[in-house]
Each structure stands twice: as structure tokens, then as C-alpha cells.
């Protein structure tokens, strides 16, 4: 980033700024004219100056020019004769002209403001993007100390005022300055003395006020730092909430935050005091000038040195003066303020060292494979305290090779692995692959050809599939479905104007051909294969069962699902298990489903028919009213509320039983208690409209066999089915038609989970082990129809939640690992990626991966040498010192220990150990 904000702005917006400048300059003559007109109105029209010598008419709007003497002079040339008008006509004519000028000035202002705003927003976009891009260039050691929440706050919030200012940066002083200067010039032209008075007061304003404001600014800066720290601290506490509770440190944390808040308050309070002092002075100066104008100007007018028209015009012009001046001073203050903010932001984004830009630059997708000799020379990595993590590492291996790094409990192997994966680049010594310096390899190569699977899997919110293919989205391959319409062109134009990328996330980013795949379907299958490899296949299948099937996306599966429904039904009947599932039947009440579900007989798509909303949905209410069900259901709600308030009373809010069983959320309990009290004494008449709504919510979730309050009889069931029919009829053509997807035995319901679609009914409550038995039969049906893969594919749509929180630790690790495997890198670095698996599973997984990487390169950090049996090369660490104990030694390693025989185990030599350690001591003792 540029050191100076103004240079940064100027560099990127020069052209736009110049265009706006031109507009500002063009506006000035009109402005001057609008200042001058009042004088003419007073003098010529009102005071009759134009009719002085007994003339009855005057010409108005005559357009002409007198040729300058340079061209020989001559009589005045008239282009337009103008109108001949009387005094009244002149007055109205001039006034109208004044109005027109007001409009013209307004139009100029409008255009300038819009242009300014657009310019500001574009710069804001560019700046946010530049800052964001900069974070990619932070080296790992800086990233460790950067707080994510602070960086996010900077990019989101703190940049905002700067963006607001950018539009004004050059134009505001230019626009306001020229306007003020015009007004000033006008006053000076009318009367020098008045001009001098106005100028000197303006001068005071300009000199004194900014000085006062400087203090205010300093305080503002302190405030900004304090509030950013507060934000960071709150973030830390929230992240570490568990520790706070474990150690009963709430009081301490509260006191700490309280102290910070006081400091903030104190700063703000002092800012206010200064701010209003400045304001006071400003107002005083502004008000005192008219005093001079009236007295001094009046004096001149009485003396006849100034005519009334001029005086009026001067006062009017002076009226025009303070607003631009005030804004100009504001601008100046803003300038300092924003410059400070900008400095702070750029400081935050200017670590000691940035990763060179060339690392990210270009580089073709089909870069050369990472093969050839991997040479490590005198590698040495220190921790922040200066003690060695890895030292004396020198190897030369011919890739592809499978290399095992085994430690003695220290961090050495992991550090070496991370160095090789370029996760650590703060080391001394040299590493090259195929003759290319590892540190200088572009990320386009390391990011595709080399992959690192570490202990902490990093997942992003989105679907499972998004996370798995994250490593395949390097560059857009071709434009997305959006095509090349006007909107897209506009989007791209804006992007290029602001230094943003023109590629859109909607483009096709996965190069299927490079992966040897036909398209998205094959990729899905590849993903599933890899998931099976890491033992996550069943999980994905389960996700699929609770996932939603979009018939448009999975037409084949949708068809099969409908077929499976029939097969499942037949199988259940065969095994005398029919009673375990109550199927959906449009003409019958489903006892195992809620009343709400029976009413809608469909799945809610948007929010209009979900949860509480459906009780107040006008269509639902209309149907219930028409079927006389409203009162009945409210009465049921009353009964339910009564029971719930009775049995859940005394449970603390937030108790798990509430969440699981109660119809009523803990927070709403007191409110329902009130309703129940009114209900118990006065029944329905005691209820307000809102009460009725609240009660109506409850029975919609009621299932008789599950909740067993004895509230539903056959008559009611029949009436609810009637209401269902009416709902279906009335739904047609309403704006809610898209909000609910009705159940249809012949079609898949895209809004309901796959499992429900297969069942097309509800498992009976109250039959022991019903769910398990039905699940088993359903599993058979799925296998029989060969739907497992398709269902697993639906499972790839599973939303993993922020940071993958909806997955277990092992699933997260599996996803991160598959993400690496699917990339098919030339070099795979495994550093603790198997830590969250059980021992047996980790061992078999390692064996599978080792086998799969025959012919490619694998670097694995292992716990013991027994695991390293299948590896070509074994490196053993003693503390930070690595020693190769198996595999071909470097052909021309220093010291002449030219190991040849591949596979021969080299015993570590004590002497050689010493030989490498001794120079260390020599160096330390001069």
C-alpha cells in the first residue's frame, strides 16, 4: 500500500478526478452569476435603476458582445435582441432567471455528488480488496500474531470512513474552495472593505479552529486504538469462554472489560468537550460577521459608496460563504483523521516482511511435475527463542520417493515436514526440488503439485463437496452459466476499474480434464471413493439420508426414490411390519405426524409455513376459520399450555429437557403462564388476539401417540383432513404456492429429507425398536435398487457449518485429508493428519496411502519406525538432528560418505554425530 493516502487515491482515480474538476470549473460562472443577480434584481428591477431616465421599458436577456479592441473594436454585435419589458416584467424575468440558475447550480451539485460518491465507493472497493489481498502475502510467522477478528474489523468497518472521504479527498477542497473564492471575489468586487472584513474573519477561522481540533484528533486516535483492542479482547474472551468458566474468571473478565469501557467513555467524553468548544467558536465567528456587514456596509450605503443592491448581494453572498468554509474545515479535519486511520491500517498491514508477489503471479496450470532431486543443504530452523528445531539437515533424494520422518518425541520431524511443504519459510540453508529453489516456487506450483495435511483441519462453511474440491479451484476454466449479458459486462467493467478480479465464483473453476474426469458426476464418484478410503463413506451416506433431493439435479435418484417407496412398503407388508410405518395418504389423517403437518400435507420451502409462522399465516387462518377449527385448536393450545407450564415449572431456563420436550421455549414460559391463568379463569373470552395466536402455535406440533395428552378424537381428525383439502384448493394461485411443497405419492418432495421421501410416511411412535427395524428394511431396499452411491452424492451437499463444526473431529480430519488426496499431488506431506483416527484405522490408512503413492512422493511424520516399513527412505531425528538411516544416500554428499546400496540400513555413527556437533561448540566459544 502507498504510504500516503492522497497519493494512493490520486494514482488510481486521476482520470475521474480530472473530469469532476472540469465540471466544477464549468459550474463556477453560473455560481457567480447567481450571486450577481440579486444585485440586479434590487437595483434595476425593484429600485427601478433600469428605468431611471424616464424609460418605460428595458431589454431583458439581450445576448451580444462588444468585439475587443484587439480585433479593431467596433459596435456591439447583438446575437439575440432580447425582450422588451416593463418594470414588473423585468422583476419577474430576473427572478425567473435566478430560479433557473438555482436549478442549474443544483444540477451541477447533484452530478458532482453522484460522481464523487461513485468514485469513493470504487476506491473503497479497491482498498478493501487490496488490504484483503495483502493478507495472503503475510508470511506464516506474521499470521501467528495477527488476530483474525481485528483484521476483519479493519477491512469491514475501519476502512468505511476512509471510503467516504476518498470521494471528497480532492474534489471537496477544490469545489468548496473555488466556490468560497468566487463568493469572496464577488464581495471584494462590490466593496474592498467588506471584502477585507470577510477575509480576515475567514482567516481566523482557518487558523485557530484547526489547531483546536488537533487535540480532538489525537483523542480520536486513542479512542480508535482502544476500541479496536476492546473488540479483540471481547473476541478472545468469547473464544476462550470455556477457560473462563473452568476457572471461574467471569468476575475478572467483567472487571477487565468494564475498565476498558470506562477508558473508552473517558476518551469520548473528552472528545465531546473539545468538539463542542470548537463548535461554539465557529458559530460565534459566523454570527459576528453579519454584524460588521450591517454596520459597516450600512455606513457605506448611507455615505453613498455602496448601493442597496450591492449591500443585499454582499449579505447574500456572505450567507453563501460559511457553509463551504465550514465544510472545508470539516474536510481538513477529516483529512487528518482519515490520514491517521489510514496510517494505522497500513501499519497493521505492513508486517516486517511480505511474501514476494511473484510467488502468486501467473504460472500455468500445467506446470512441470515436482520431480528430480530434492536437495536439502544445511537446513536450520530456529524457534522464536533461538533454540534449534531442526539443524544440520542435509539430504539429497531422488523424487519420487516415499520418505518417513521419525522423531524421538521432539518437534523436529514435523518442522522439517512443514518446511518441505513450505508452511515454514523462515529457515537458513537451501532447499531445491528439481533444481528449483523451494522458496521461489510460485504458489501455483506448490499449491497444486505439493500438498500438506496437518493436524488441524481447516474447513470453511459450505457443503461437504465445496470443502473437498477446495484444492481444485485454482483458476476459472470457463465462464459460468450466467453467460455474457449486460449485467455481467457491467460487473467486469467495475472489477477492472477497481483492481478487483474479473473472475466470478460462479464460473467453472474445476478443470475436470486435467483430473482425467468427464465432469461433475465423475468427480463426485472420485470424491466418494476417496472418502471410502478414509472410512467416511457411511457418514456421507447418512448425511445423504437426511439431505434434500432436488429432482432437477438428481432426476435419476428422484425416480428411484419413488420406486423405492413402493418396494419398501411391499417388504414391510411381507414381514408383517406394516404397522411400523403409517404412510401419507391424502385422504386420511396421519396419527404419527403433527397436526400442522396433517394440515399442510407438505413440506415447508421458505419460512412462511415453518414453525410459528404457520400459525399466523393468513391462508392457514382463513382455512381454519372456514372449517371452524380455530377455536377448537386454541382450546387444545390452552390445554397443552396448561400441562406444559405445570410440568416444566421449576426447570431452569436452558435445561436440555426444555429443548427436547417442551412445546414452549423456556423464555416464553412466563408469558404462557399468564395466558394459562387468564384461560383458566375466563376461558376463551379472557384471551387477546395475540394470546390466541400464541396458543394456536402449540397444537400444530402435537402428535397424539407421542405426547399422549388425549386431545384428538376421530371427529377432529376427519375435520383436519377436510381442512387439508380446503388448504390445497385455496393455496392454488396464492403467493404462498411456492412456499410449500405438497406430498405426492408419485413425486419426490424436494423440501423434505431423503429419508422421509423414501418412507413417505411416519414411523409409528410407541412400538419398541420400530425405527431400527424400519431403518434396516429401508437399507435393504436401498441396496437392492443400487441407490447407495446416489444417496451418498446427496450427502456431499451436507452443510459442514462454520469451521466444519457440524462434523466430528475425525470427519473434519478425513475431509481435510481427502481434499489433499483428490488433488493427486506429486508430493504429499502427512504431518499428523491421521492423529484423530484410532490406531488400527490410522495404520491401515497409512498403508493404503503409502501403497497409492508408489511412484509419487510422500513425506510422512511417523510416531515410530515400525510404521515406516513400506517407506523408501527413513530419517530418524535425535532432538533437532536428522539422520538418514535407510534408503539411498546422497550420491555426492559432503564428507565423501557416498552411500550407494538402495535399501541398506545405515547405522547412525556416534562419530559422525560428534563431527557435526563439534563445530557448533567451536563457534560458540571463540
Amino acid at each position: 500500500m502507498e504510504k500516503s493516502l492522497f497519493r494512493y487515491i490520486w494514482r488510481h482515480t486521476r482520470r475521474e478526478q480530472l473530469v469532476i474538476f472540469a465540471a466544477v470549473l464549468a459550474s463556477l460562472p453560473f455560481y457567480f452569476w447567481s450571486l450577481d443577480l440579486p444585485k440586479r434584481i434590487v437595483n434595476e428591477a425593484i429600485q427601478g435603476g433600469a428605468f431611471k431616465d424616464g424609460r418605460a421599458t428595458a431589454t431583458f436577456l439581450e445576448i451580444g458582445a462588444t468585439p475587443p479592441a484587439l480585433f479593431g473594436g467596433g459596435p456591439r454585435v447583438t446575437f439575440f435582441e432580447g425582450f422588451t419589458v416593463g418594470q414588473l416584467g423585468l422583476l419577474f424575468g430576473l427572478s425567473t432567471l435566478f430560479l433557473v440558475l438555482v436549478l442549474v447550480n443544483g444540477a451541477f451539485k447533484y452530478w458532482i455528488n453522484v460522481a464523487k460518491g461513485a468514485l469513493g465507493e470504487r476506491m473503497l472497493r479497491r482498498m478493501r480488496f487490496d488490504l484483503f489481498s495483502l493478507t495472503f502475502r503475510f508470511p506464516p510467522e506474521t499470521l501467528r500474531t495477527v488476530k483474525a477478528s481485528e483484521t476483519a474489523t479493519i477491512i469491514k468497518d475501519e476502512v468505511e470512513p476512509i471510503g467516504g472521504f476518498i470521494g471528497d479527498a480532492f474534489i471537496q477542497p477544490m469545489f468548496l474552495g473555488t466556490q468560497a473564492a468566487t463568493a469572496m471575489l464577488f464581495i471584494l468586487l462590490q466593496n474592498v472593505w467588506l471584502g477585507i472584513i470577510a477575509a480576515s474573519i475567514v482567516g481566523i477561522q482557518f487558523v485557530v479552529i484547526p489547531r483546536l481540533r488537533r487535540v480532538q484528533l489525537r483523542l480520536g486516535k486513542e479512542r480508535q486504538i482502544a476500541s479496536r483492542k476492546l473488540a479483540g479482547r471481547v473476541g478472545e474472551i468469547v473464544d476462550g469462554m470455556e477457560a473462563v468458566h473452568v476457572h471461574d474468571a467471569t468476575a475478572w473478565e467483567k472487571a477487565e472489560i468494564g475498565e476498558r469501557l470506562f477508558h473508552l467513555f473517558d476518551l469520548r467524553f473528552r472528545i465531546y468537550k473539545w468538539k463542542f468548544a470548537v463548535k461554539f467558536l465557529n458559530n460565534l465567528l459566523a454570527q459576528i460577521t453579519p454584524f460588521f456587514f450591517y454596520s459597516v456596509g450600512g455606513y457605506f450605503a448611507l455615505k453613498g459608496k455602496l448601493d442597496i443592491g450591492q449591500l443585499v448581494a454582499v449579505i447574500a453572498a456572505y450567507r453563501e460563504l460559511p457553509p463551504p468554509l465550514k465544510e472545508l474545515i470539516d474536510w481538513d479535519q477529516q483529512r487528518l483523521d482519515v490520514q491517521i486511520k489510514y496510517d494505522q491500517i497500513t501499519q497493521q498491514f505492513a508486517p516486517e516482511r511480505l511474501i514476494p508477489e511473484e510467488v502468486f503471479a501467473g504460472a500455468e496450470a500445467d506446470a512441470e511435475p515436482l520431480r528430480g532431486p530434492l536437495v536439502v543443504k544445511d537446513l536450520r530452523v530456529m524457534d522464536s527463542h533461538g533454540s534449534p528445531l531442526v539443524e544440520g539437515a542435509s539430504f539429497a533424494w531422488d523424487l519420487p520417493a516415499r520418505i518417513a520422518l521419525v522423531g524421538d518425541g521432539g518437534g523436529g520431524p514435523s518442522v522439517l515436514a512443514r518446511v518441505l511443504a513450505r508452511r515454514i519459510d523462515d529457515f537458513t540453508g537451501q532447499i531445491s526440488i528439481g533444481g528449483r529453489d523451494l522458496r521461489r516456487l510460485p504458489e501455483a506450483v506448490t499449491g497444486r503439485r505439493l500438498t500438506y495435511a496437518g493436524v488441524d483441519p481447516i474447513l470453511f462453511p459450505g457443503t461437504l463437496r465445496d470443502n473437498l474440491v477446495y484444492g481444485l479451484r485454482h483458476r476459472p476454466v470457463r465462464p459460468g452459466a450466467a453467460g455474457d449479458d449486460a449485467e455481467q459486462r457491467r460487473r467486469r467493467l467495475e472489477a477492472s476499474r477497481t483492481g478487483n478480479p474479473e473472475a466470478s465464483p460462479d464460473d467453472e473453476w474445476i478443470d475436470y480434464a486435467a483430473l482425467g474426469l468427464e465432469g461433475a458426476d465423475e468427480l463426485d464418484h472420485r470424491l466418494l471413493e476417496e472418502l471410502a478410503l478414509v472410512g467416511m463413506r457411511d457418514d456421507v451416506y447418512r448425511f445423504g439420508l437426511s439431505g434434500r433431493v432436488d429432482p432437477a439435479r438428481y432426476p435419476h435418484l428422484a425416480e428411484k426414490l419413488v420406486e423405492a417407496r413402493g418396494l419398501l412398503r411391499a417388504k414391510l407388508a411381507d414381514r408383517d411390519m406394516r404397522q411400523l410405518v403409517e404412510p401419507f395418504d391424502p385422504a386420511r389423517y396421519n396419527n404419527q405426524a403433527t397436526i400442522g403437518e396433517n394440515l399442510l400435507f407438505g413440506a415447508s420451502v421458505g419460512g412462511a409455513f415453518a414453525g410459528r409462522a404457520r400459525a399466523v399465516n393468513p391462508l392457514v387462518r382463513r382455512v381454519l376459520d372456514a372449517e371452524d377449527l380455530t377455536d377448537e385448536l386454541v382450546r387444545m393450545g390452552g390445554d397443552i399450555a396448561q400441562t406444559m407450564t405445570e410440568i416444566f415449572r421449576g426447570l431452569p431456563p436452558g435445561h436440555p429437557l426444555f429443548e427436547q420436550f417442551s412445546f414452549i421455549a423456556a423464555d416464553d414460559l412466563p408469558e404462557y403462564e399468564d395466558i394459562v391463568r387468564r384461560w383458566a379463569t375466563r376461558r376463551a373470552s379472557g384471551l387477546t388476539r395475540e394470546d390466541r395466536n400464541r396458543l394456536l402455535v402449540l397444537p400444530l406440533d402435537y402428535v397424539e401417540p407421542r405426547h399422549r395428552l388425549g386431545l384428538i378424537d376421530d371427529v377432529l381428525k376427519a375435520r383436519i383432513v377436510e381442512a387439508r383439502m380446503r388448504f390445497r384448493r385455496e393455496l392454488r394461485g396464492t403467493l404462498w404456492e411456492q412456499e410449500v411443497e405438497l406430498y405426492d405419492a408419485e413425486r419426490v418432495c424436494g423440501a423434505a429429507p431423503l429419508r422421509d421421501n423414501l418412507l413417505f410416511g411416519r414411523v409409528a411412535h410407541g412400538i419398541a425398536d420400530a425405527r431400527e427395524r424400519v431403518t434396516k428394511v429401508a437399507g435393504e431396499v436401498i441396496s437392492e435398487l443400487g441407490m447407495r452411491d446416489d444417496i451418498a452424492r446427496v450427502g456431499l451437499d451436507f452443510q459442514v457449518g462454520p469451521g466444519g463444526r457440524l462434523l466430528t473431529a475425525q470427519q473434519r480430519a478425513s475431509v481435510a485429508l481427502v481434499r489433499c488426496l483428490v488433488k493427486q499431488p506429486d508430493i504429499l506431506v502427512l504431518d499428523g493428519a491421521l492423529a484423530s483416527y484410532g490406531d488400527a484405522q490410522a495404520a491401515s490408512l497409512l498403508a493404503t496411502i503409502t501403497e497409492a503413492y508408489r511412484g509419487r512422493s510422500l513425506v510422512a511424520v511417523l510416531r515410530d519406525e515400525a510404521q515406516a516399513a513400506d517407506f523408501d527412505i527413513l530419517v530418524r531425528f535425535t532432538g533437532p538432528r536428522p539422520q538418514q538411516v535407510r534408503g539411498p544416500l546422497a550420491p555426492a554428499a559432503e564428507g565423501g560418505e557416498a552411500g550407494v546400496g538402495a535399501g541398506t540400513v545405515q547405522q547412525p555413527l556416534r562419530d559422525s554425530d560428534k563431527a557435526t556437533t563439534e563445530p557448533e561448540f567451536e563457534r560458540q566459544t571463540p
Binding site: T643, R649, L651, P652, L657, R706, R708, G766, A768, D769
Partner: protein
């Protein structure tokens, strides 16, 4: 059969008889009413203990699978509580329970039951009292056998 009749049944169980009616209703409401067909197992010896059952209707019996063969240990009928020891001691099922007739039972989930005990000391005390009584009875029997 509704929640209220279930509460009546729970009241007949010695372990629950001193518990406040509102709490019993909560216990009933958070339990699940399940039916078993004749011959169906409640659970098998060695299974994880995940729930206790109160029999509302029907008969069942308890079997021990010993190396010597299967021994029928006890008969269960209306208002009997079974499986509570497993969920309290967090040990696997010590015996198998099989339905003799069609059975309606109340399934009290372990997690829910422990939540309730944690929340309401009165319930915990009632359970402890019942366990203490059983221990006392066992002691008395042992004493009787010894003398």
C-alpha cells in the same frame, strides 16, 4: 390411555411413590410409551443400558444367561420397574428381559432420567431411599441365611 393414567401407574412404583405429582407427570411426559409383542426383547444381557421401563400392561420375565444355560430369574407384571439398576450404575445389562404377552411399557431414557435426578433432589432422595431399602433387605436376607 393418557398421560394421567401413566402417572397413576408410576405412583405405584415404590421408587417413585413419594415424588411430587407434577414431577411424575414430567417423568411420564419425557418418557416414551412403547409396545412389545410377545417374545420381543426389552434388552439383552450385555447390552448398553440406555433406558429403564415401567410395565403398564402385560407380563414379562427376566433371564440370566449363565455358562450352565438360561435361568429364569423373575417375573414382571403391571407397575413393575425394570432396568433401572443398569442406568444408575452405568453398567451393561446384567440380564435379559423378554415379553411374555403383548406389553405396554413406559420407556424412561437414561439421559433424561439422570437429568431429572440432577435437577430435582427430591427425586434423587426417593431413588436413594429405595436403593437403601433394597440393600437393607439384602443384608437381612444374608443375615438370615448366615444364622
Amino acid at each position: 390411555m393418557t398421560l394421567d393414567t401413566e402417572v397413576q401407574s408410576l405412583r405405584q412404583v415404590p421408587m417413585f411413590k413419594d415424588i411430587d405429582p407434577a414431577r411424575l407427570k414430567l417423568l411420564a411426559f419425557t418418557s416414551e410409551r412403547v409396545t412389545f409383542a410377545p417374545g420381543q426383547r426389552f434388552f439383552s444381557q450385555g447390552d448398553l443400558s440406555d433406558a429403564a421401563y415401567v410395565i403398564l400392561e402385560g407380563r414379562a420375565h427376566v433371564m440370566l444367561e449363565a455358562p450352565t444355560g438360561v435361568i429364569k430369574v423373575a417375573e414382571l407384571g403391571r407397575n413393575d420397574l425394570v432396568g433401572e439398576m443398569g442406568i444408575l450404575s452405568e453398567t451393561p445389562r446384567s440380564a435379559t428381559v423378554l415379553a411374555d404377552t403383548d406389553i405396554i411399557a413406559l420407556r424412561i431414557d437414561k439421559r433424561v432420567f439422570l437429568e431429572l435426578l440432577g435437577q430435582f433432589p427430591q427425586m434423587s432422595i426417593a431413588v436413594m431411599r429405595e436403593l437403601a431399602k433394597r440393600l437393607e433387605r439384602t443384608n437381612a436376607q444374608l443375615a438370615g441365611r448366615a444364622s
